[in-house]
């Protein structure tokens, strides 16, 4: 008995869509970052599911999907650190984390 990778991809699509919705519809910068984390997780889920369907003797090694997911995990950590630093800078400057207030580059 194995998990069907197709159903994992469907779940990944749903999670990604929820993340997109969160990023589009919310104003709080922290919530926005959480939406991005959701999307990164959805992408990772798809990569791990793909690693499960890759034949071992194929052009891509069988572990490649998981290695890519590992690299995405590291980038997600970097993204969270920089993103939250930006949130703190925004809060210091504007007294709020409402992303609609971050329009210093607009005239």
């Amino acid at each position: 008995m194995q998990v069907d990778p197709g159903s994992v991809l469907v779940l990944s699509a749903i999670l990604f869509a929820i993340g997109v919705f969160g990023v589009i519809s919310r104003r709080g910068a922290v919530v926005l970052l959480m939406g991005v984390e959701l999307m990164l997780n959805a992408g990772n889920l798809a990569l791990v599911a793909a690693a499960r369907v890759t034949p071992a003797g194929g052009e891509l090694g069988a572990m490649d999907g998981q290695v890519l997911a590992f690299l995405v995990l590291a980038i997600a950590a970097a993204e969270a650190a920089v993103g939250l630093a930006l949130v703190i800078a925004l809060f210091r400057h504007k007294g709020s984390v409402d992303v609609d207030l971050a329009r210093m580059l607009r005239w």
């Binding site: 197709g6 929820i18 970052l33 889920l45 572990m63 997911a69 995990l73 939250l84 630093a85 949130v87």
Partner: protein
């Protein structure tokens, strides 16, 4: 009450059922993350999503990634997010949520995305190459061989990116923006 010890053999016996259970938890918690108004509750629901995804990794035989997901994501990243929420003393969003137009447009876009990818994924069919599966698949040794073999340069570049991000985060969060 069903204990964790009885659930675990059940998950091994019925991986697809376990997957649907975890998927349901993940989707409901993810909806909570984007719809709830209180940031602390959102962060805690994010932990639920991440743990459910870690369980799915384990079901897909990505053992090492499942452990990493718990340590790095549910551990470090969510702690960082919670720390910032507490530091800035963020309450529920003051203004009344997103406008109806944003919700409708965002919902439509999200739905279109889910349908598009879901439709492509439905044609994938069952996985191939099951018979001679490497028992090392997804474990630390195989992962390390891949990382320091074919994936050496991407791995090193990512560590460089991590250092750059760390320095950048310190600089951005420390200095006050000039008026």
């Amino acid at each position: 009450m069903i204990s964790l010890a009885t659930l675990f053999p059940l998950a091994i016996a019925l991986p697809q059922a376990a997957f649907w259970g975890l998927a349901l938890v993940a989707v409901v918690a993810a909806l909570g993350v984007v719809l709830h108004r209180n940031p602390v509750v959102e962060a805690l629901l994010l932990v639920v999503v991440l743990l459910a995804v870690a369980g799915i990794y384990a079901l897909l035989h990505a053992w090492f990634l499942a452990v990493l997901q718990v340590i790095v994501y549910a551990g470090a990243i969510v702690v960082l997010i919670t720390f910032v929420i507490m530091l800035l003393n963020l309450g529920p969003e003051a203004r009344g949520g997103p406008g109806p137009l944003t919700v409708v447009l965002g919902g439509l876009l999200a739905l279109a995305l889910a349908l598009l990818v879901g439709r492509a994924a439905a044609g994938l069919g069952p996985r191939v190459a099951d018979a001679a599966w490497n028992p090392q698949f997804g474990k630390v040794a195989a992962m390390g061989k891949a990382l320091f073999g074919a994936w050496f340069w991407p791995f090193e570049i990512v560590s460089l990116a991590l250092i750059a991000a760390m320095v950048g985060a310190v600089v951005i969060a420390k200095r006050r923006l000039e008026e």
